[in-house]
Subunit: 384 residues, 2 copies
């Protein structure tokens, strides 16, 4: 069974483990059991027709006396690219608009309030090639680009907040590129943008060939459905990045990503989930699917022969909750829409139970961290 | 199948999943496959006779030109208490010394260089009772106590570093109590001590009834076998705590714990492993095993009736590596010794690959964190 055809961990567990033990296995691996969300038949039919996986789960909170449940439905979309990577740039973008648009339509039928697309969703993840052309032509204005206009129309039509991670060209600052998530309000207004804070230099990707560390700090977007933040891709490896979004009040942190099996798959289920637990918030990890082939061969700095792809994007998008529970992962091989109904009251309930913020001793760490970054820092090492 | 008799996740997976898929399941759940450590027959026989589980795994690093492999064997010991909790205090301590001593002897046969015991290993985890007597009588001097003397003898005899987490009474500071790990060098000298930095107020445990947040910062102990640190129990929920031990140079961070199924089991496999990944170091998570019954009933602030225990300690001790791989967990139900042979060169190799320290932007976070703890902190919230 090769890495890329293996459909999902969850399918295998469900197929082979007897019910008597499956409950314990799931409790240990996934935490509190989630109710499946009942989805409209029209949505299920449409997903089948359009050939993508549709799954929905409910994260419940306990009833409170003074606060009503704060229920929001989020949608996570994972997808393959549509056209070959050497098709004309605009054709590729339009094909992706069409595909993601039809998935968003199903999300709307399911009552999704906030949807998030995968990292750099309008293009192949071509940064392994180190070529400038044609990839930089996929870059657009965050505020006024073709893709943002597309999202604004969808947002308004469906009354849905859209998180749209794109390659941004910032014309008013020298035309530099950024890896940026545009947040479009359900009114159709561009609420703002959030740039990728940590830039990988790992495996095939030194993305700083194209764009540098983001300068939008850890802003949080107040939407009608809750306070959200966007931690793009490699930022999920940095616990401080998650922490700081949470410190600024994020209730849901999206992590649109593009990552391949050989490199990161054993890490995938750990990092966003740890962040949800540690920060008493929801996290939504989204990864693209499939192989992407590039016309010109390239090397990977690993002593191996030049090649035309850099591995298999394993999908497996999931939602993690502050109480340690998580949804199953979406398919490793198919396009998909994962819907999670979240009661945001669970954040405060988890915080009141576990008290990580209260017991966090952040003053101490602010001081220690400031010392640790000094050039003449002397580690505290006890010797015999 | 009830929570406490379920033997282990790994047993169930191995029993039911066909080989063709088991490889993928293990890759996703456990990362790179580990070689099993070949253990001496005398050790295996002794473990069988003494009725504890003995397992060993090897974490390998790539060969380097200028550095020889830096191989160290660590031992993680998990165990039940021996006598009833109302037996005389000294009898309870001596019984635990005897039990752990015989496991250490097997560790010595297996060539273990550094061994770590579970949190407050000389006593039942009685802090749920909120009673002072007799539990405070289990407290000892870190430098000159009965248990430290016991560890010094073992350390010298077996040329083994011993991490001994105890309830400490600090006579020179008003006789206050602390939750403290004593680090005994393989020479038999007390190298120093490290106190629990984060104190839980969760579920049955407000441990600040007995002891407060530690004041030993994030010291690291230079042993003959590598630089080690001790992050006691609840500190595993705090990513900054792990980070700071790593900043001070820890190559292996031990996490002696005492935690029960209903509360934390879905979190157990996530947190220490995330710390190993995020900080390019090894982490060793140790949890005790079994039920502990107390003579006087107590309530848990959860509306339920008074009871005599607070749940099932699920063992499942494991080692996590900086490359995202981890060992299987030890038994959920039996005493055990987990041995891991670590090549510490894997730390720098993982760091050079993933570069989380290099890309960590710690200056930014030191500044942001210092702002975030101010009373008049204004979260960065973007509104429409």
């Amino acid at each position: 069974m090769s890495e890329c055809v293996f459909e999902s961990l969850e399918n295998t567990l469900e197929t082979y483990i007897p019910d008597a033990e499956l409950g314990e296995i799931k409790r240990i691996l996934y935490g509190n059991e989630l109710r499946k969300l009942t989805l409209p038949q029209t949505a299920l039919d449409a997903a089948l027709e359009k050939d993508f996986v549709l799954q929905g789960y409910v994260f419940e909170a306990a009833p409170e006396q003074l606060r009503a449940p704060r229920v929001v439905r989020v949608g996570l979309i994972q997808n393959k690219i549509i056209l070959p990577t050497d098709a004309p740039v605009l054709d590729q973008i339009i094909a992706l608009h069409k595909r993601v648009g039809e998935i968003v339509e199903v999300a709307a039928i399911c009552g999704v309030n906030i949807v998030c697309f995968q990292e750099a969703w309008t293009m192949p993840f071509a940064f392994c090639t180190r070529e400038r052309e044609p990839w930089t032509e996929f870059a657009e204005s965050a505020e006024d680009g073709f893709t943002t206009h597309f999202c604004q129309k969808l947002a308004k039509k469906y009354n849905m907040v859209i998180v749209s991670p794109i390659l941004e060209r910032d014309e008013i600052h020298g035309g530099t590129l950024w890896n940026t998530a545009v947040v479009v309000s359900n009114t159709g207004t561009v609420l703002g943008k959030s740039r990728k804070n940590h830039i990988p230099r790992v495996g095939d990707f030194n993305e700083s060939t194209y764009y540098m560390e983001g300068n939008t700090d850890h802003r949080v977007f107040q939407t009608q459905f809750g306070k959200i933040a966007v931690n793009i891709c490699y930022g999920r490896h940095h616990p401080l990045n998650w922490l700081m979004y949470s410190m600024h009040g994020a209730e849901i942190i999206f992590n649109p990503s593009a990552t391949v099996g050989a490199l990161s798959e054993p890490l995938w289920s750990i990092e966003a989930r740890n962040a949800a637990i540690a920060n008493h918030c929801f996290t939504c990890a989204i990864n693209r699917v499939g192989m992407e082939y590039f016309k010109n061969e390239f090397t990977s700095g690993d002593g191996k022969k030049a090649h035309h792809d850099f591995g298999y994007f394993y999908g497996s998008s999931y939602v993690a909750a502050p109480d340690g529970s998580r949804s199953p992962g979406l398919s490793r091989t198919q396009d998909g829409l994962l819907i999670a109904e979240l009661d945001l009251n669970l954040n405060q309930q988890s915080a009141d139970k576990w008290n990580f913020k209260m017991t966090g001793r952040y003053e101490l760490y602010a001081k220690e961290l400031a010392q640790a970054v000094q050039h003449d820092f002397k580690p505290n090492i006890v010797k015999e």
